[in-house]
């Protein structure tokens, strides 16, 4: 592939090659866009460098982030002098690929630390096994069970998502004409059904925002919860997901079937995220400031998955929770610790957040997660 403008022979060719060049750097540029770019040449926009740049930018970019990237690529492509290029020859494209470590995620999550005694090969799992695992606290699993549980969980999560979708469809059919009311009303018009009545309004589609705690204390739960969020995504048309511990990261875009490992790898690369003190208040403040105005529109539901062990200022957390609560339809907080016998929300952070929570639930085993189905369906 031609990497710079000077390697091409005609202006049309360099525009086409530029299209390829930006595509290799992650911009979504196809044949259509390249064609449009060539049409720009015809319109005479090439005469001025700036308007040429602006025109290509308008055609090639679709987000503010891409626009920033484009500026860099444009310079690199059109302004590179052949003389500076000698040593860069054998560098390939910038797009790095994550080297996937098979089942490394589990090790990272602390499952691997307990050297698994391979006493009995528990390969066969009957119905009872499933039931047992569903109720087992996620933090008390051994490695063998963890793999099995992951499999079961994935299956159950998907079933849950499917049930939720079906429920929506059935409701939607209720929007048919209500003959009874229509005929009743038509009497006043001499038997002509002038006004039509519908039986039920379409249920409002929910928007859900998920905030997942990935700090050290949540280690053993985070991985499964992330899977859980992924399953939810298939039901909600608008699901925004974030992970937080000391800082907040938006992972909405990464929630794709083959990318869960990448998400985990990315998060774990930022070592201060996994296994370190949580500053929930600050993360929520960051959420409110950066995304609040955009996402907390039209009162979505918010689902927070965290143990509430906060090392920050509880007053800040309380303030931010109230802010969120004002603009959300409902805040559901799922706390894995709540499943423990004798647990009371005594931790400073949890106590501070409690007044702004509509539904406080446990999330320590599979069953408790699956319970969420009913809440979401009726919300």
């Amino acid at each position: 592939m031609k990497q710079q403008a000077f390697q091409t022979n005609s202006i049309a060719e360099s525009v086409v090659a530029f299209g390829q060049y930006v595509r290799s750097h992650g911009l979504n540029v196809g044949i259509q866009e390249t064609q449009d770019a060539l049409r720009c040449l015809k319109e005479g926009l090439i005469s001025d460098k700036n308007s040429f740049r602006y025109a290509l930018k308008t055609i090639f970019c679709t987000t503010p982030e891409e626009r920033e990237l484009f500026e860099k690529l444009f310079l690199r492509y059109w302004d590179t002098n052949p003389v500076d290029m000698q040593e860069k020859k054998n560098k390939t494209s910038v797009q790095g690929s994550f080297n996937k470590k098979a089942s490394a995620s589990l090790v990272m999550l602390g499952f691997g630390k307990t050297a698994a005694p391979e006493d009995e090969g528990r390969n066969v799992s009957g119905a009872n096994e499933t039931e047992r695992l569903k109720r087992t606290d996620l933090s008390k699993l051994n490695e063998m069970d963890a793999a099995l549980l992951e499999e079961i969980a994935m299956k159950l999560f998907m079933q849950m998502a499917l049930r939720l979708r079906r429920r929506m469809k059935e409701d939607r059919n209720k929007g048919q004409i209500s003959l009874r009311r229509t005929i009743r009303r038509s009497i006043g018009y001499g038997g002509e059904p002038i006004e039509l009545f519908r039986r039920a309004q379409k249920p409002k589609k929910q928007r859900l925002i998920v905030l997942l705690d990935v700090s050290g204390s949540m280690d053993k739960y985070s991985y499964l919860l992330l899977r859980f969020i992924y399953a939810l995504r298939t039901y909600f048309r608008q699901l925004e997901a974030f992970v937080f511990s000391t800082s907040l990261i938006r992972i909405t875009k990464a929630l794709q079937p083959n990318q869960l490992d990448v998400v985990l790898a990315t998060i774990s690369e930022q070592a201060d995220n996994w296994s370190s003190g949580t500053r929930i208040g600050e993360c929520f403040a960051a959420f409110n400031n950066k995304y609040g105005k955009l996402l907390l529109n039209g009162s979505p539901s918010i689902l927070i998955l965290s143990d509430g062990l906060d090392t920050g200022d509880p007053a800040l957390l309380e303030r931010e929770m109230i802010k969120m609560h004002k603009r959300a339809r409902k805040i559901i907080w799922m706390n894995p610790l709540k499943g423990m016998k004798g647990y009371a929300p005594e931790a400073r952070g949890m106590k501070a957040a409690l007044p702004a929570i509509d539904d406080f639930r446990s999330a320590h085993n599979l069953e408790s997660l699956l319970d969420l189905e009913n809440i979401l369906a009726n919300a």
Binding site: G30, D36, C40, E43, L45, I194, L196
Partner: protein, 289 residues
């Protein structure tokens, strides 16, 4: 109407209509006109996304057709709907005539009984390409977005009872979005894209000056400085350019020639729209003034 054969001519023409645009934005508009592709505008609220559609329609001396999107917007409200009540009346009126069933059916499913909504209107324009503004597309549902795909690529609408209607003049489409959600890639690929950000100090002063030619230079500078300062803060609602203009207008209406503490407090409500914001700003600003 003047000629619009280059981005710089568009800048000039827009200026005559009191709209300040930079070269980059003008290039995007130029492409909208030349390539006849829809233009997707994104940016914070109140930076003139909607306004540009209005100005463009004035510039081209054509009609502006506006579709405001909202959650639950459906085909009935956006494209067309049969006037059911009128159809019933039509059937009643035909009862005495000797028309065949086919003729009757043909009659009640004719244009006369069609309620045209904005999208259908935009492609049925007879004399000149209109400007079609699809406002806040991010608020609509994904189904509607998918429906738009057909319209935006081939500019035709199919009504089962009437057949396919093809646009005689392709409308100039401007879509706006506040990014409350990410739009689908398919839609984005059919559009040109431009991001409008808050203007810098000089540009914003220019904009206000254009709108309010009678404003005192000192007052103008003070107002715009303050607004630029507000935007740096973590406010619940960041003021846009339209708020700046409102503020300047109300200060002028009250007869102030420069900013003082009284004027500031009196009119703060025109630029900040939340109690918390107002209190926060009052605390920091009024004391030094």
């Amino acid at each position: 109407m003047q000629t619009l054969n280059s981005p710089s001519e568009i800048v000039e023409a827009l200026e005559k209509h009191q709209y300040v645009a930079d070269e980059e934005f003008a290039t995007a508009l130029f492409l909208l006109l030349k390539l006849q592709k829809p233009l997707l505008l994104e940016g914070p609220p109140g930076v003139g996304k909607t306004e540009i559609a209005l100005v463009l329609s004035q510039l081209l001396e054509t009609r502006l057709i506006r579709l405001q999107c909202y959650e639950g917007l459906d085909i009935n409200a956006a494209v067309y709907e049969w006037n059911y009540q009128k159809q019933l009346l039509g059937i009643k009126l035909q009862e005495g005539t000797n028309l065949s069933v086919e003729e009757k059916e043909h009659h009640i499913f004719s244009h006369e009984y069609l309620l045209m909504r904005p999208l259908l209107q935009s492609i049925m324009e007879e004399s000149k390409a209109p400007v079609l503004l699809i406002d806040e597309i991010d608020r609509s549902d994904e189904e509607f977005e998918a429906f738009l795909l057909e319209l935006l690529s081939v500019f035709q609408i199919t009504i089962p009872e009437l057949g396919t209607i093809k646009a005689k003049y392709k409308p100039y489409v401007i879509l706006t979005s506040n990014r409350t959600r990410e739009l689908s890639d398919a839609l984005k690929r059919r559009c040109l894209y431009h991001w409008i950000d808050y203007p810098d100090l000089e540009k914003e002063m220019l904009i206000v000056k254009k709108r309010l030619p009678g404003i005192e230079q000192l007052l103008l500078q003070q107002i715009v400085r303050h607004v630029q300062d507000f935007r740096q803060r973590k406010l619940e609602k960041t003021p846009g350019v339209s708020e700046t203009i409102d503020w300047a207008e109300s200060l002028m209406a009250l007869g102030y020639r420069d900013m003082n503490a009284k004027a500031f407090v009196q009119t703060l409500g025109t630029v900040l729209k939340s109690v918390d914001d107002i209190n926060q700003v009052k605390k920091d600003f009024v004391a030094p003034l």
